[in-house]
């Protein structure tokens, strides 16, 4: 009886339709593009029957080599940037969370979250100007460095959040038993921290894969990532093959959310 009363108090009329509206708004454009990616007609708005021709075009068409190269760049940059950012962020999280309050802790946190705080376009401009001033030639390396920097806070947040939830008595016990700090970290803390690290890595990876503005500013001659290649192509009009790529990337995102969701679950049960 009481349960039901509380449920009544919790409920607000109109909130459910709002939530449905929210999902509707978020998904309509994506679903439309997904549907039209199977459109047989080259005219983009008329429906001409179901076909996989645009997917074929993406993989084997004239621009396939270019797209494959761009996809390869995107994936390798995202992988490396996410690995580097995760390592740096894990170290930083241990340093921040597992040390007593100290002067400059707030400032240090501010520095760590700076890449999220500074608007992307400003980061892009600043990085471009910086590299050009020191004469560092724009190329693959400039994109990688810029991506590592802005991925750090995205990797840091889930790792630090997880670390805060782990009782420090665990590694303290290990240290009391004469384990070295490295052993205490590797054998005790790291396994407990793993779900946080994986979440951090996945988030950093997807953020790097997603980035357009910064990449567009710092990329060198002849180097494209998927977003910059797509952006270049749609300037001349949205073609069906772009929709096919979009749909594929959408599926990759769904895959990542699913993986990250199960990693999160794994963390819950282990705790």
């Amino acid at each position: 009886m009481k349960e039901k009363a509380l449920d009544q108090i919790k409920r607000y009329p109109g909130f459910f339709p709002m939530a449905v509206l929210c999902l509707f708004l978020l998904y309509t454009p994506l679903i439309i593009v997904m549907i039209y990616s199977f459109n047989d007609s080259p005219s983009i708005t008329r429906w001409g029957g179901f076909s996989l021709r645009w997917y074929e075009d993406v993989f084997f068409g004239l621009e396939a080599t270019k797209l494959r190269k761009a996809a390869w760049n995107s994936v390798t940059i995202a992988t490396m940037a996410a690995i580097c950012a995760t390592v740096i962020a894990t170290a930083a999280a241990v340093g921040m969370v597992r040390s007593a309050a100290w002067r400059g802790k707030t400032a240090s946190f501010a520095i760590l979250s700076l890449p999220i705080m500074v608007p992307e376009i400003v980061t892009a401009v600043a990085t471009l100007i910086f590299f050009s001033t020191i004469g560092f030639k724009a190329g693959y390396a400039t994109i990688l460095i810029a991506h590592i920097v802005f991925c750090i806070p995205f990797a840091y947040l889930p790792i630090a959040a997880r670390l805060e939830g782990i009782d420090s008595n665990y590694e303290q016990a290990a240290l009391d038993l004469y384990a070295s700090r490295w052993q205490a970290f590797k054998r005790v803390l790291l396994p407990l921290l793993a779900p946080g690290i994986i979440s951090g890595f996945l988030l950093a990876f997807i953020i790097s894969l997603d980035d357009f503005i910064i990449t567009n500013f710092v990329k060198g001659a002849g180097i494209e990532t998927l977003p910059t290649a797509i952006f270049g192509a749609i300037r001349q009009g949205i073609k069906p093959n772009i929709m096919a790529i979009s749909t594929l990337m959408l599926l990759v995102s769904i895959l990542f959310v699913t993986v990250s969701y199960f990693v999160g679950r794994m963390g819950e049960t282990k705790k």
């Binding site: 690995i83 580097c84 002849g222 180097i223 001349q236």
Partner: protein, 345 residues
């Protein structure tokens, strides 16, 4: 900790490695968008065993800005229009092609050999030439379209549905032609009139878009728009109600040229590419793709039939001659830049 460092080091090394992997046997092109068929690039890559990479730009001005902003030394060749060749060459951004370095230089049509913007073809070879004017969707507007007023003082049917090229040289050039004033005028009243004309025309314009100039017309986002003749022909191919105009006040003609950039990382391959584009068969492939006109002998026989009769490539007999965009001196150019800034802001 060691493993972590190793992984990181490996990751970084992998990144730098893959960046340096294609340093040999490559060619880096800086080109207009949608201006060369992919199979032609593939053909060149295969014939000479080089890896071809290409970036694109959408106006002569952005080509210049990008080269000035530290991209010199990254590209081997670019494809600026006539006036931009002159600007680049005056700024010392072009390398000189020595006598005998291009085997096919004799293929250039005589009238395009000794041109004002590159006397004796020291830095460039012809790519394509054509005109800049505008196309109108005849389903939307059925009246006479033979005047630049369609762009600068449009009828009500077109107002707010006009796309304008995002290029100061061509837009201000067309505006000057419409007003009947010289292109590099220093007369304050004429400049004021030009400024007034474009600012008053701006509310009629829907967008500034060069690379989307065809798509906005075809998709119906715009009912009229400045466009190059070949791009206009392609647009008509996708939407038959589009018509390209040769306005009575005049229009702009241009020639795009392949230039050898200074500090080209692959100079030898750049020259091979230029020779390649001077072969009638190859440049004809470009012409059939982009639907402009080549400046190389022996191309005509290889062209598509539709191209020879297309209204975009064959101005009506009573059409006036076109005008090239002129290069102004620095103080004058600054005024034109100010006018362009006023339009864009």
């Amino acid at each position: 900790m060691k493993t972590i460092f190793k992984t990181t080091a490996l990751a970084v090394a992998l990144g730098l490695g893959s960046a340096a992997a294609h340093a040999e046997g490559s060619l880096s092109i800086y080109h207009w968008f949608e201006y060369i068929p992919q199979d032609l690039l593939d053909k060149f890559a295969k014939e000479h065993d080089v890896e071809v990479t290409m970036d694109t730009y959408d106006s002569n001005e952005s080509l210049l800005a990008s080269l000035k902003a530290g991209k010199m030394g990254s590209y081997d060749v670019a494809v600026p229009s006539d006036y931009m060749v002159e600007i680049l060459s005056n700024d010392g951004m072009l390398d000189t092609i020595a006598d005998g370095e291009l085997a096919n230089i004799g293929n250039i049509e005589d009238k395009w050999m000794d041109v004002a913007f590159d006397a004796g073809r020291k830095h460039s070879i012809p790519y394509q030439w054509g005109s800049t004017s505008f196309s109108v969707n005849r389903d939307v507007y059925k009246g006479d379209i033979g005047s630049l007023a369609m762009m600068f003082d449009p009828p009500a049917d077109l107002s707010g549905k006009i796309n304008v090229l995002d290029s100061s040289g061509e837009v201000l050039g067309l505006a000057s032609i419409y007003l009947g004033i010289p292109q590099c005028t220093t007369d304050r009243d004429q400049l004021k009139a030009l400024n007034k004309l474009v600012l008053e025309a701006k509310p009629h314009w829907a967008s500034f878009n060069s690379d989307g100039a065809k798509d906005v017309l075809v998709s119906g986002d715009a009912a009229a728009g400045m466009i190059w003749n070949g791009f206009g022909a392609k647009a008509r191919g996708e939407l038959a109600s589009l018509e390209y105009s040769y306005p009575k006040e005049g229009y702009i003609v241009w020639m795009d040229n392949v230039v050898l950039l200074k500090d080209a990382p692959n100079r030898a391959n750049a020259l091979k590419f230029m020779d390649f584009l001077l072969e009638p068969e190859n440049i004809a492939a470009v012409t059939n793709f982009a639907q402009y006109t080549a400046g190389v002998k022996g191309v005509n026989a290889l062209l598509d039939e539709s191209l020879k009769t297309s209204p975009e490539n064959n101005p009506p007999a009573d059409a006036p001659a076109g005008t090239f965009v002129q290069v102004c001196d620095e103080p004058t150019q600054k005024l034109y830049e100010q006018i362009w800034t006023n339009v864009k802001k």
